[in-house]
Symmetry: C2
Subunit: 219 residues, 2 copies
């Protein structure tokens, strides 16, 4: 499939790009700067080349990456995500858009607390910024970036998703299963996203306190 | 230890009573009605007797159960929990109190959504209802009641707790580890409870959709 990663640097973007390239998908790295996007794309191409994996990765401005793709991942920091999407709103028609965005606050005592926008969740804020024709899926909030980027490693994690379009959720389920051995659990409609997003700051706190790199498994 | 379960019927109360009795703890079942509490206590005693396990379980009004115990579990439905605690406030001095309380709403489409009180979490609402000298720990929100009550079965679950008193969290950690093979993960201060509580409606939705009986494991 043609997959765009807007703001395709850092955090979970690297792991997704590497793993989906390995699975044969075409990747469009989006950034505010065309030059930066092309630079990041080249880094990923080289990394895969070193692993003997052929890839089709291109860098371009966010608006173009969104236009080219069938699936668009919003891998943008929470404070910019909705605004960025709103600025390139015209690039969206009927794509599947995935939001892994989570908004959190750090308190004085260093603990992280879930701090959703007034919409109740980042997913609902991003939904408002997008045309109604887009199929929005909330997913990939709780993946450990470091483990994800080690692409020879199989991942025994659960990816909890939600969204209002059943077909879009099926596509994201298949794309997720292209990264062995993750399991997708569909939680229901998009409005449930706040409960999935809230797990992220909890995991961050647990990671700091217990010096771990946790993800979630439901059993 | 002397452990009280206020409103000690249904849900996770049964599993906790049976497992802690097996581990040799003294149990005080509290209820609004003394008669009801004694009836429930007798049921638990008989169940354990059938399994060849000697127990020390007594039924009494909530206020007396709270007074007798070193650890008090608030196993009361969310709509009554804070009020019940407030009504018997004089029974609390320096006990460790555990809140597994989660407040949720069911929407028209049958999905459950986290619906915390204005305090941000049920834990913070209950904290306000208790004297400051009580050590409140938030725990046991996401245990599957049915699995918990099968006391011959070992449980490979994580119990995420939070609270502002380190010693109290240590006591609850030890009590939890008396139920093999649960692991306790301390998330930090009490104000993080909303993120732990929010997992419960998510699990309820997943259970309904996937016909499972999920609990959480961090790995």
């Amino acid at each position: 499939m043609k997959i765009a990663l807007l703001g395709g640097t850092g955090d979970i973007a690297e792991g997704l790009v590497l793993r989906w390239s390995k699975a044969g998908h075409d990747i469009y790295i989006g950034s505010r700067s065309d030059e930066k996007a092309k630079g990041i794309a080249n880094e990923y191409i080289e990394k895969l080349d070193e692993l003997g994996i052929e890839s089709n990765i291109q860098g371009m401005p966010n608006a173009d990456a969104a236009k080219e793709a069938e699936v668009v991942i919003i891998s943008i920091p929470p404070e910019y995500a909705a605004d960025t999407v709103r600025q390139i709103r015209d690039s969206f028609t009927d794509q599947i858009v995935v939001t892994p965005v989570v908004s959190m606050d750090r308190h004085e005592d260093k603990s992280f607390v879930f701090n959703p926008p007034p919409h109740g969740s980042s997913a609902l804020e991003i939904k408002e910024a997008l045309p109604d024709t887009v199929k929005l899926v909330s997913a990939y909030h709780n993946l450990p970036a470091k483990e994800l980027s080690k692409i020879e490693q199989e991942l025994d994690y659960d990816v909890v998703i939600c969204g209002d379009d059943e077909e879009a959720k099926e596509v994201i389920t298949k794309l997720t299963e292209d990264m062995p051995n993750m399991r997708v659990l569909d939680a229901g409609p998009l409005k449930l996203s706040s409960m999935i997003e809230a797990i992220t700051p909890l995991i961050v706190n647990l990671n700091i306190k217990h010096k771990q790199n946790f993800s979630v498994k439901f059993k």
